[in-house]
């Protein structure tokens, strides 16, 4: 059994230690906001935070979360109004929306360490997150807006 916290609540997994954290979060614990896109750290749809650092949950074994704090899109803010989420709505970013949990979690890690990123820093930080609907320019605008409006 592996113990950790998810969004501030105690969580435990009975799965083998090499089980990707993604499936523990989604299927065992029921936080389905985190998405499966590639299983190979190639798309970023499964991005969550472990102790505040963005990780690709699809290639992170659950054993790596032992004793750590995992944050998913559901726990980014208690009421869904993190500055990035407000900015995502203001810029009307999502289309199909499937990648957006990962995009927001990736962006949140950037703003946590760099409150006023340049456009180039945003693009560099976000370039590993794919969006098949092509909402990239709106994502950049939303991150800039969140940085400004805090």
């Amino acid at each position: 059994m592996i113990q950790f916290t998810v969004n501030g609540e105690d969580a435990r997994s009975e799965q083998p230690p090499d089980t990707p954290l993604l499936w523990v979060i989604r299927d065992e614990l029921g936080y389905t906001g985190t998405k499966y896109g590639c299983g190979a750290a190639q798309c970023g749809a499964c991005t969550v935070h472990v102790d505040g650092q963005p990780v690709r949950a699809c290639v992170t074994p659950v054993s790596a979360a032992r004793g750590r704090k995992v944050t998913t899109i559901e726990g980014l803010s208690a009421t869904g109004d993190h500055p990035l989420q407000r900015a995502w709505i203001a810029e009307q970013v999502p289309q199909c929306g499937y990648c957006q949990s990962g995009q927001i979690m990736q962006a949140a890690a950037l703003l946590a360490k760099n409150k006023r990123p340049t456009r180039a820093q945003i693009v560099q930080h976000m370039n590993g997150n794919l969006c098949r609907c092509g909402t990239y320019n709106r994502i950049v605008r939303a991150i800039e807006r969140a940085a400004q409006e805090g």
């Binding site: 998405k35 869904g80 999502p94 289309q95 199909c96 929306g97 709106r138």
Partner: protein, 743 residues
Amino acid sequence: MVERDEARLLDFNVSRRAFLGASAGLTFAITLGLGGAGGARKAHAAGGAHALNAYVSIEPNGTIRIQAPAPEMGQGVMTGLPLIVAEELDADWSRVVVEQSPIAPAYHHPIFKAQYVVASISTLGYFMPLRVAGAQARRVLIDAVAEKWGVPAAELATEPSTVVHAASGRKISYGEVAAFAKPPAHPPKIDPAKDLKPGDRFRLIGRPVERVDVVAKSTGRAAYGIDARVPGMAYATLVRAPVRGSGPMSANADAVRKLPGVVDVVMLGHGVAVVADTFAAALKARRQLKVEWKKGLPGDAIDTDRDLEKYLADGRDMKHTGVVFHSAGDAAGAIKGAARVMVGEYLSDHVYHAQMEPMNSTASVRPDGVDIWVGTQAPTRTTLDVAAALGIGADKVHVHQHFLGGGFGRRATVEASVDAALIAKAVGRPVKLVLSREDDLAAGTFRPMTTQRIEAGLDASGRIVGWRQRVVGELVGDFVYQPGYVEKSKNRDVIFMSGAMLPYYEKVANVQSEHVREPERTRVAAWRGIGSGYTKFAIESMIDEIAHAQKADPLAYRLSLTDHPRARRVLEKVAEMSGWGKQRASGTALGLAFAEYGLFAPKIGSLVAAVAEISVDRRSGRIRVHNYWAAADAGLVVNPAGFQAQMESAIVWGLSSALKEQVTMTNGVVQQSNFHEYNILRMSEVPAIHVEILRGPPPPTMVGELGVPSAAPAIANAFFALTGKRLRHVPFTPARVQAALKA
């Protein structure tokens, strides 16, 4: 509106099957005070007895629930379609709650006779029925107030969510009306010619409206098919045969069944499923699965590099006759008599949808009925095909429609749900089937590769007198629908040949396009933009070549081909937006392209003109697109914010396919396995995108794919302006760019 014979091209087999008396068509009524959508759904589920449509229900607290009939895959119909109902209802949009409608005949798209989202015609098709539904609901409210107040209905008017009697100054909210009004036994008849709002009185249509699904999609709450959870369910993953038509001969099923967590290994006609207690266990066991596949299929011999050479040869060989898709005048005769003939050849590779949500479906198969939880573009077809596979009546199959993590044509076919149902039946418990990304790509359905050959005959003054376009590739319609489908559709494969005409270059009098058919060996599909993604690449590149050969400006040359006001308007607008003709910064150049889009073009079609500004790194062969301007005309605009978003999206889609996307096959096997090998456009590669929407009269026409067709030719034409070299093969990979520069 759409003519019946043209509509039949899209009228896939659903309409020809008996299905819950679907022929009744669309009738409209409302439920009032019946407990909201629950009551509406119940009333609807009860069937035709009361003929309640239940698009609208109004609660006494003023909440208005509107059913969204079409699946939402990012294209915005969950917002745009209810908005049309709300307009005629005169609803206060802030009080509207949108719900995904049940899957049932009352919500069928009038052209498809099914709930089915393809071809960008959800808004076009639903526009009038939804206006009528809204107007009818409004009429019921007015009639109820007229009776209550003892005034003629003609004296009553509405403001948003309020009925007004101007003569007495009385007002009453829709919620208050719903508290006493009773649904009429016979819904009032609405005459679309008299009883609908004139366009200048629209309060909602034509103004930017926020999407209703954005909050859920920004907080992780939106439920996609892959998020379905059913008590007691097992998890399955599936490896499909690498080659079309093949299936498993044998597999190491006994060994895999012994792996941890594995419930069963299920042999299906075209693949092998691993079922386990968790998806992680299923994926892990799938890696140990070894399958011997049936050999001897036509697809075994596919080698895309070699096959493209054959396609080119077939396109050149006029004895290899094509099936005529579009013809006006006498193209062959005009070319024969021309002063000069120019020939251009263009190629495109297979491309993969790469929808971010891998294909999946969840099924529960019980003696009393079947439930399917899925995000699909084709929920009606899902009920029919699952029922057929299980040998039960379609009325026993209940589809629970979820959001789609991208559709783009991939989710227009329903094999994932059929597979999930068969697996669930085999293991005797509910099953969530999810394909791994690798298996999703290996058994993907692709926009087929093509070669094209265009011959243009010019007169002595350089005007085009004859035009012949031969498009070489596999049939698509028969695989997407059923064998014989294209033959029955006047032998026109509209998915494959879309765009292979010049309806807005009407001064080119003699035009013919032909489909030179290659053996059907590949799993193919409709893919955002369908044939127009490559046919317009060829056409607009060729027009550019002819313009340059005349030393004519590409914009002026295009304008010389058309007097059509809509075409001239988008061309002139994009020229103005992009500063066409002005000096550019050194190292960059502009390219122009024009396209109409839509299966019913030119009678009903959308128009786009686009300009790309590019530079080229000659050492690496990388093209960078700096700016992309587009002027778009899709007739009446329902939600300009949604139109804008869809244009941006389709432009990125078009640029991605023009620059990067490529599926290759050797011995019939796809050579790419995941996103490190199937590359799509990333944030760092997206240009600044500038869109202007040019408004027009009704109907509202195709939006969701309109941005795609102009992207590749705009880049290729900019490349020519910059380098004097022509790019003829999409995608324009660095290697192809370097080869073109050396040519």
